[in-house]
Assembly symmetry: C2
Homo-oligomer: 526 residues x 2
C-alpha cells in the first residue's frame, strides 16, 4: 500500500532536520577526508562511480536519509511507476519512459498494446529507416544521399537530443560512425531557422519534425520556414521530411512526410530522449547501433535505480542528498559542472529536466506544500566555469551545492604534453583540486584570500564519455529527479506552469489585450 | 569626500528595508498596470529602453532607492573610477575599461602614458592589421588570404568576445560584412582544441592568443595544440598567430607572433570585451568599422550611466532594484532571458561578469560583510526557456527575478506568416505575455493550474540587435554590476576566489598531495 504523503508529515524528515550538521571542512581534512572518499562511493552503470565523500553527510545523516527513503517508499513508488500505475495524476497518464530502454517489471498494456513491444517496434522502424538513408536507398529527389539531418523541435524535443548529439559528435567522428551531421532548429525567433537554413545544403538535408501533439507553435512555424526553403530551392518538401509525433496527431497520417515515427502520451517531453524523439535524430546521425548502445547504458542504470538498498542506488542517494541540501541546509540552487567540453549542453538539458519536473508549489493532489521544492539548476563545463562564476561559488555569501562529472580519458585522444602533463591530466587535476578547495577551503589572514570551505560537491567519474556512459548519465539524472519528486510528493510529470504564457501570447497575437499586456504589446510593435 | 561604507550602515538602506512591500500582482492588474508600464521606463543608448513597470517597486520604494544611491555616493564613486582612482583596492589598480570606448572625465595618465591615447592607439593598430588581412596584404606562407580567425582564450578572453560574435554573426552576414568566420578554443579539455582544429582549414586560419599575463595554463596549453597542428600541416606557426597580451608579458616581444596588441592591468578579464581582447577577433571577423560602432554604443550608454539623476540612469536604477530584490526581498538568483537566438551566449557572459565581480563575502577593506552580495545568474534565450525551466519560474516555491531583452525586428529579415502573424511577432507576443503572466498570475480553483503571480521582471526593448545595441547592452550590464558592487561595498574588480583551485591543481600535477586530494587524484588516474 503506497502512501502519497507530504514530506513534512514524515517522522523521518523531522528527525533528519534535527540531526547534527556535518562540518564539511573539518571532516574532509587530512586522513579523515581520505577515508571519506574511499567509503562514500557507489558504482553506477558502465564503469561510472558516484562519489559523495565531499557532500555534507556522515553515517548518521545517511542513516536518516535511508529512513526517509523507506518512509517515503521511494522504491515502491518507482516500482508502481514502471509497472504502469497512473503516476502522472495531473494529466492522468502512465509514466513509461524507462520502457523505451528495458522492461523493469511487469508487462504494461495500454491502448490495447504491450508498451515495451510498441517502443521497440518504433526503434526497429527508425533503425530500418536510418539504415536505408545511410545506404542510399532513401534519397532526395535527385537520387542523392542525404548528408545532414535537422531536428525541428523545442524543449524536450530539442535540449536532450541536442545535448546527446554534442556529447557524442566527436566520439562518433573518431570512431568513423558519424553518418550525418545534425543541426537543430528550436526557437520561434525567425533568425534561428534562417541561420540554420543558411548554414546547410538543403538539397541534401533530411528534416525531422518533432511534436507529440502536432500543435506546438514554434515547431509548426519552423516547419513552414523549412518548407519555404525547400520550395524556394525547387525541391519537394515531402521527400525531405519525417515526423516524430503521436498516433493521434494531425501529422500522423499526412502525406507530407517520408515516414512517421510514433511516441505516446506516457513519455513527457523532457523524458523523451530515449524515445523516437532522440532515437530518430541520433540513429540518423550516428547509426542505430550507437543509439542502441546509448539505450543499453540507460537500461543498466535504470536497473540500479530500481534497487531497494539505498546505499547501492546512486540515483536515490543523489536525490536524497539533494533533498537534504534543499530542505534542511536550505541551499536554493545547484550547479552541474561537467569537466568535458562534449557535455557543454548537458547542464541545459538537466536544467529543463529538473526545473520543469520539480518546480512546483502543489503536491500531486493539488494542495500547496509548505516546503521548498526543486532548486534552480545551472552550469557550464569546467575548466571554463573556473574562469567565470566559480568566484561566487568559492567566496560568495551563499552556498551552492555542486555536481561534478569527470572522465579519465578524452574522446578524440589528441593531446599535448606541457610542463610534464597532458591536457587531459590538467583537466582531471583541476576537478580534483576544485572538490577539495570547495570542501576544505584555506585559512588566510588576508580575509580577501580566505576560503571558508564547507561547500559540498559530488562527482561522477567514468573512463570515457561514450554512448553507454551518456545513457547511464541521462538515466541517473532522470531517476534522481523522479525520486526527489516522490519525496516532495509533487507530480514531476506535468507542466501546468507553461500554459498561462501560451494563452496570453495568443491573446496578444489576436490583439485582444488590455492593461499592461496591451502596453507591452504596443511597445513591441505587435 | 567619498565614504566607502558597508550597506547595512546606511540609514537609507535600513529605511528601505522597512518600507511597505509592493503587491505586484495587484498593481499590475488593469489600468494601474497600464499606467505603470507607461511611467516606469527610461531611455538607454541607441534607441533601447529599460522598462521596470513589472518590477516590485512603486514611487515610495523608488524614492528609497534614490536615497540609497545618494547616500552610497554611486555617481561620485563612478566618477572617481573613470577619473583614475585606485578602485580595485585588492590588486591596487585603476579600473579603466570605460576608457576603451570614450573619455568620461579627466585624462588619466598611468605608466607614463595617457590611457585614452593608449587604448585608441591599440585599436588603430588592430584596425590596420585587420584591414591588411582583409585586403590580402597579410597572408599565410603561400600568399593566400586568411578566411578564419580563432580566438584562444578562457574566461573573459572567451565568454564576452564569443557572445558578441554570436550576437552579430547573422547581422554581419546579412550586411555583407562578415569578413572571416570566427571560432573559439577555451577549455583545457583536449577535445575542445582538437574538435575546433578538425573543423577548420588551418592553412587559412589566423589564431589570436589572448592572455594578459602570458601565463594562463589553459591558453598556453591550447597554443601548443595549435602550434602542433600548424607544424603537422607543414606550416610556419609564427605566420599564423597574433597575441593580445600585456606589454610586460613574456609573449609581448616574442618572434612567435605576427603582431602583438596590448592590454594592461587596468582592465579585468570580464570587462575586456571592448579592449583588444574583443577588438582583435571582432575587427578581424566583422571589420574594424563594425567594432567601432559597437564601441560607440557602449560609449553612449556609459555617458548615461555617469548621469547623477538616478531616475534617468538605467544602469543605476537596474542595479538598485537588483539590490532591493537581493537584500530586502531576499531573492537569491536572477535569470537573464533574451528573446533573441543571437543572444544565446550573452547570459553566459553576464554570468561571469556578475558572479565573478560580486560573488564576494568581504568588503573592499577585507572585512566580512553581514549581508548577501551577488546573486546566482543564469539564463537561456526565449522562447526556448519557456519550454524548459519557466515551469519553476512560474510555479516553483522560490521567486526568481527576471531580466528580459527583446527586439522589434529580427536580424536576418527572413520570416513566415502562420495564422496571421510572423515568427518575429510571435516571439514578441511571447515575451509580452510572459511579463504579464509572471506579474499578474491567474486564479484557478484547480491549484495545479493556479498562478500566484507577483514574480518581478524588467525588459530592455530595442529596434534591432546591431553592433551599437550590443555595445549599449554590454555597457549597461557592466555598469549595473559596478554600481551594485559600490552599494555592497565590495571590490568588483578582483577574483581571489579562483586562486586556491589553481594552487591545488598544480600540487596534483606535481603529485604533492595527501588526504582527500590524493584519493581524488588517484580516482582520476592522474
Amino acid at each position: 500500500m503506497i502512501n502519497w504523503s507530504n514530506m513534512d508529515t514524515l517522522a523521518s524528515f523531522r528527525e533528519l532536520s534535527k540531526a547534527d550538521k556535518v562540518d564539511l571542512a573539518a571532516v574532509m581534512a587530512g586522513e579523515s577526508g581520505a577515508e571519506r572518499v574511499k567509503k562514500y562511493s557507489v558504482p553506477m552503470a558502465k564503469g561510472l562511480v558516484y562519489h559523495y565523500g565531499a557532500k555534507q553527510v556522515d553515517d548518521k545523516i545517511l542513516d536518516g536519509l535511508v529512513k526517509l527513503a523507506e518512509e517515503a517508499q521511494l522504491a515502491d513508488k518507482f516500482q508502481a511507476l514502471y509497472n504502469g500505475e497512473v503516476i502522472n495524476t495531473g494529466e492522468k497518464r502512465l509514466v513509461l519512459h524507462h520502457m523505451t530502454r528495458g522492461q523493469l517489471g511487469d508487462p504494461v498494456v495500454a491502448d490495447g498494446v504491450d508498451k515495451r513491444a510498441f517502443y521497440t517496434g518504433v526503434q526497429q522502424k527508425v533503425a530500418e529507416f536510418a539504415e536505408k538513408v545511410h545506404a542510399g536507398e532513401i534519397t532526395n529527389g535527385a537520387g542523392e544521399k542525404f548528408t545532414t539531418v535537422v531536428q525541428i523541435g523545442i524543449g524536450g524535443s530539442d535540449l536532450g537530443p541536442r545535448a546527446i548529439y554534442i556529447a557524442l559528435e566527436n566520439w562518433a567522428r573518431k570512431h568513423n560512425t558519424l553518418k550525418m551531421e545534425a543541426k537543430f532548429i528550436s526557437n520561434v525567433d525567425p533568425d534561428d531557422a534562417a541561420a540554420v537554413l543558411n548554414s546547410i545544403d538543403v538539397a541534401h538535408s533530411l528534416f525531422i519534425l518533432v511534436s507529440k501533439s502536432g500543435t506546438t507553435l514554434e515547431t509548426l512555424t519552423n516547419e513552414s520556414f523549412v518548407k519555404d526553403a525547400l520550395k524556394n530551392a525547387g525541391l519537394d518538401a515531402s521527400r525531405h521530411m519525417v515526423a516524430v509525433t503521436s498516433e493521434t496527431s494531425p501529422l500522423a497520417g499526412s502525406d507530407d512526410y517520408l515516414a512517421a515515427f510514433f511516441m505516446d502520451d506516457y513519455i513527457g517531453g523532457r523524458y523523451s530522449s530515449s524515445s523516437a524523439v532522440g532515437g530518430a535524430v541520433l540513429s540518423l546521425a550516428f547509426g542505430p547501433e550507437v543509439f542502441a548502445r546509448f539505450l543499453e547504458g540507460a537500461a543498466e542504470e535504470d536497473r540500479l535505480s530500481a534497487g531497494r538498498d539505498v546505499r547501492k542506488n546512486p540515483a536515490m542517494l543523489d536525490a536524497l542528498i539533494g533533498v537534504y541540501e534543499r530542505n534542511v541546509l536550505d541551499y536554493p540552487s545547484t550547479a552541474v559542472l561537467p569537466y568535458s567540453q562534449a557535455l557543454s549542453r548537458f547542464p541545459a538539458h538537466l536544467q529543463q529536466l529538473d526545473m520543469e519536473s520539480n518546480g512546483k508549489s502543489v503536491n500531486r493532489f493539488g494542495d500547496p506544500v509548505d516546503y521548498q521544492t526543486g532548486p534552480v539548476i545551472f552550469g557550464e563545463p569546467g575548466t571554463n566555469g573556473q574562469h567565470s562564476f566559480y568566484q561566487l561559488l568559492h567566496q560568495g555569501t551563499a552556498i551552492v551545492p555542486l555536481q561534478f562529472i569527470g572522465f579519465k580519458n578524452s574522446q578524440i585522444g589528441t593531446d599535448v604534453v606541457i610542463e610534464g602533463s597532458t591536457s587531459q591530466q590538467k583537466l582531471c587535476a583541476n576537478v580534483a583540486a576544485q572538490i577539495v578547495a570547495f570542501a576544505c577551503g584555506k585559512e588566510d589572514e588576508n580575509r580577501n584570500k580566505h576560503f571558508e570551505g564547507g561547500r559540498p560537491s559530488s562527482i561522477i567519474i567514468g573512463d570515457q564519455l561514450t554512448p553507454e556512459t551518456v545513457g547511464a548519465l541521462l538515466s541517473h539524472f532522470e531517476n534522481k529527479v523522479m525520486f526527489q519528486g516522490f519525496v516532495w510528493n509533487v507530480n514531476s510529470f506535468d507542466q501546468e506552469g507553461v500554459q498561462l504564457g501560451k494563452v496570453l501570447a495568443k491573446r496578444v497575437l489576436a490583439h485582444e489585450t488590455d492593461g499592461a499586456l496591451k502596453e507591452f504589446s504596443d511597445l513591441l510593435n505587435i
